[in-house]
């Protein structure tokens, strides 16, 4: 339905009715139900046989399959020339605002980190006027990275229970060691620095790939895009090593108090986004390599993925600053 209408104005392609949305909703609902069931079963019915895992995986598979068909359809429509310049602009706007929503999602976790570090944790240690916290958590002192939790400070979870604290929702044993900047003497063993270099470099290689396709140089595009994907994989591998080190050598866990909490949640969500971005770029590489998709004029699938990649990179810079260095 592209091209010119009889008034001479380019018409906007409105797709026919489609089963994609309902199928995707079935997938998402199954995931939502399955995920909540899996988590509740492991928390409240540990050891019992349930089928919730099957439901979750079925939902994930269903949604993934639907999205595969969905993206294939949009790619096919675009290649069939059904998309006017105006419709392409809609996709551009859609991707931009999607990334903005991701920025806000990370903003919530960074906001939590700043609030804890600058306000609430110092207050717990008795800073500020009019707080009773020194009575509740005697001996707790604030430092960051927080390796001694307030619970540790009063003698652990048993002591907390004995003191009659009602909101005792678990044991929070601080980590032995943090992953912050270890000083210049030990910098050679500091994985986050390597990851920073890798991710920043990958933004450049991604940009070189972009220039390649704009110059109609498919070889250059494929090569540099492949390097970008490889750098993404190396990043993920190093992060896996770092997590291993954190868990088994430094004793940093999700329940190591608020340092472990913020460390794993921020780097974990970032790592998940790197994995997503790597996958997106890999798909674009496969499209170019095997099907010869993209041209100097139209490379939106790649462009959108590259914006996402740069966004993930910028988030890492903030992580590096606020989780590791400062």
């Amino acid at each position: 339905m592209a091209g010119q209408s009889n008034t001479g104005h380019e018409t906007y392609y409105v797709p026919d009715s489609s089963k994609l949305a309902v199928s995707a909703s079935i997938g998402m609902t199954t995931i939502v139900y399955g995920a909540a069931s899996v988590i509740n079963d492991s928390s409240y019915r540990a050891g019992e046989d349930t089928n919730s895992g099957f439901i979750l995986y079925a939902g994930l598979f269903w949604l993934a399959a639907t999205l595969f068909v969905w993206f294939s359809t949009t790619i096919r429509e675009n290649r069939a020339g059904m998309n006017s310049a105006q419709l392409k602009q809609s996709y551009v706007i859609g991707m931009q605002w999607f990334i903005f929503s991701e920025v806000m999602f990370f903003g919530a976790f960074f906001g939590a980190l700043f609030y804890i570090r600058n306000l609430s944790a110092p207050w717990l240690a008795g800073e500020g006027a009019g707080t009773m916290n020194t009575l509740l958590w005697p001996g707790f002192e604030y430092s960051w990275p927080l390796l001694t939790t307030p619970q540790d400070a009063i003698g652990g979870v048993q002591a907390q229970a004995a003191a009659g604290h009602l909101a005792n929702n678990g044991a929070f044993v601080g980590a032995e060691h943090s992953l912050s900047f270890p000083g210049f003497a030990n910098i050679a063993h500091w994985l986050p620095l390597y990851n920073t270099v890798i991710l920043l470099a990958s933004s450049f290689t991604c940009h070189i790939a972009h220039m390649g396709i704009k110059q109609n140089d498919r070889k250059k595009f494929n090569l540099w895009l492949f390097i970008t994907v490889a750098l993404g994989c190396i990043f993920l591998y190093l992060q896996y090593m770092e997590y291993h080190e954190a868990l088994f050598e430094y004793g940093i866990k999700l329940n190591s108090g608020v340092y472990g909490t913020t460390f794993f949640m921020l780097t974990g969500f970032h790592g998940f986004h790197v994995a997503m971005g790597t996958f997106m770029l890999l798909v674009q590489w496969l499209r170019s390599k095997t099907k010869g998709h993209f041209s100097a004029e139209d490379q939106f699938g790649f462009e959108a993925s590259s914006w996402y990649w740069h966004f993930v990179d910028v988030v890492w810079v903030f992580l590096f600053l606020f989780v590791y260095i400062m």
Binding site: T11, L20, A112, W123
Partner: protein, 519 residues
């Protein structure tokens, strides 16, 4: 291709549709169903509060009712209703053939029914449904929550995804799909308010997703975001929640402002007074909504500098809001006014929302709020904004546009009856709540001091009247569709000036497949 034939037949038309009008219709019917569901929870609440003592429900179930009433009304009734209006009206108002991303549009909708089914089903789970209030403060929603909270968390994620996709679609439509000549400053106010609302949604729904994710991790995976024992802070939850929550209340009210900005000029037969200032006021309100969140938490123990900052920032909101109210009044001034049902609802909305705005100003004053906090005064305040502000505007919108949607005219007598019963029922319900709140009755309790008995009985009677009047509303809508007097004049209302009044009545399945030319 789609543009050349009408709707498919049967159920698959609705399941597989990519048509903005079909999707708008589904949003509107879905939200009405949720309105009745949330309303029935409210009826249980008011029945229990009819007199002091426990008569009908146990406190535990009462808590589930207040929680689910809030959740269903905010996320299931009001928000989807406005999205339904956006779907129907924005493409027609800007001269676009459809929404920018029609398949995603359908997905946004079809996430909602199963999600709300799941949310409602938590009431039947072991330990009951969510019982921690619609604001789900930690640790009530973490340490002390029933197991169903996990389902609640994932339901919130799903509706957030739906909202974000819906808003991105609206932004892409407004930014990209305007007909030639439809510059930003010529857009109808309803479109403007929705553009800004969509921006707010994309900005804050992810923050809500962050809040519930932190809850999930605290409950099941041992993190300590909201646990002081691990170095976190329960108050952090309130900050994250209200960073979402305050823009959220403007997400609800801004499209309502948009509706009355369409209805009042039409029935005053005058253009909207101060169009530019309306745009700037809406933008200012949206900006301010990001820096006032902690006025919901004055009593939580913030430093004095925080109390003062949030107090002054909050009071600033009164300035652009007042500009809007003055503009609506000035639009009516010396207008050739007729009082059809949409106009009655719109005027009542302006008047009653202003009452809610004034009680909001009282609540904005930090030292005074120490008295009002968590009292029925707050309940009265936000129902004046949510019910009179948003739902009256929704009623107005339905009466205003239903002739365009269906090609049938609603029954004016029944519409006016609905209005007056709603108006009386609403005020009878919520006006006395100001008094019991100021006298010290706390919110979210199933039983209360005997001295509050009379006002509570009035409130309950008013609530039953208001609830019943919505059945009349439903009857009038169904009756309009089945037996309404046909209208065929494109310009249903003499004073209608926006683009939707240039297309045939009822609006054909596809409008503006080629864009109109605007002067």
């Amino acid at each position: 291709m789609g543009a050349h034939h009408g709707p498919a037949k049967g159920l698959t038309r609705w399941l597989f549709t990519t048509n903005h009008k079909d999707i708008g219709t589904m949003y509107l019917w879905f939200s009405f169903a949720m309105f009745l569901l949330g309303g029935s929870f409210a009826m249980i609440i008011r029945a229990e509060l009819f007199q002091p003592g426990l008569q009908i429900v146990q406190p535990e179930f009462f808590n589930q009712m207040t929680t689910m009433h809030g959740l269903v009304m905010v996320f299931g009734a009001i928000m989807p209703a406005f999205v339904g209006l956006a779907n129907w009206m924005i493409p027609m108002m800007i001269g676009a053939p459809d929404m920018a991303l029609p398949r995603m549009n359908n997905w946004s909708f079809w996430i909602l029914p199963p999600t709300f089914l799941l949310l409602a089903s938590t009431l039947f789970m072991d330990g009951g449904g969510p019982n921690f209030g619609w604001t789900f403060y930690a640790p009530l929603s973490t340490t002390y929550a029933p197991p169903s909270v996990t389902f609640f968390i994932f339901a919130v994620h799903a509706m957030g995804i739906s909202s974000i996709m819906g808003s991105i679609n609206i932004i892409a439509t407004v930014v990209n799909m305007r007909a030639p000549g439809m510059t930003y400053m010529k857009m109808p106010m309803f479109v403007w308010t929705w553009l800004i609302t969509a921006f707010l949604l994309v900005a804050v729904m992810p923050v809500l997703a962050g809040a519930v994710t932190m809850m999930l991790m605290d409950i099941h995976f041992g993190t300590s975001f909201f646990s002081a024992a691990g170095g976190g802070d329960p108050v952090l939850f309130q900050h994250v929640f209200w960073f979402f929550g305050h823009p959220e209340v403007y997400i609800i009210i801004l499209p309502a402002f948009g509706v009355v900005s369409e209805v009042i000029p039409t029935f005053s037969r005058k253009p909207l007074f101060g169009y530019d200032s309306m745009v700037y006021a809406t933008s200012s309100i949206a900006f301010l909504s990001f820096i006032v969140w902690a006025h919901h938490m004055y009593t939580v123990g913030m430093p004095i500098a925080g109390e003062l900052f949030f107090m002054y920032a909050t009071m600033l909101i009164a300035v652009p809001t007042a500009a809007k109210v003055f503009n609506w009044i000035t639009t009516m001034f010396k207008g050739s006014i007729t009082l059809e049902t949409p106009m009655l609802f719109a005027i009542a909305k302006v008047f009653l929302f202003t009452v809610g705005g004034f009680s909001g100003l009282m609540l904005a004053i930090a030292p005074a709020d120490f008295q009002y906090h968590d009292s029925y005064f707050v309940v009265a305040h936000f129902h004046y904004t949510m019910v009179a502000g948003a739902i009256f505007a929704l009623s107005s919108a339905v009466y205003y546009w239903i002739p365009k949607w269906t090609g049938k005219m609603y029954n004016e007598t029944m519409g006016k009856t609905h209005f007056w019963i709603s108006f009386i029922g609403f005020n009878l319900t919520f006006f006395p709540q100001h008094f019991v709140g100021l006298a010290g009755m706390p919110r979210r309790i199933p039983d209360y001091n005997l001295m509050f008995a009379d006002f509570n009985m009035m409130s309950s009677i008013g609530a039953f009247i208001y609830g019943a009047s919505q059945l009349l509303f439903l009857f009038n809508i169904v009756r309009t569709i089945t037996h309404g007097k046909p209208v065929s004049d494109p310009k249903v209302w003499e004073g209608g000036t926006t683009l939707e009044w240039t297309v045939p009545t009822p609006a054909p399945y596809h409008t503006f497949t080629t864009p109109p030319q605007l002067k």
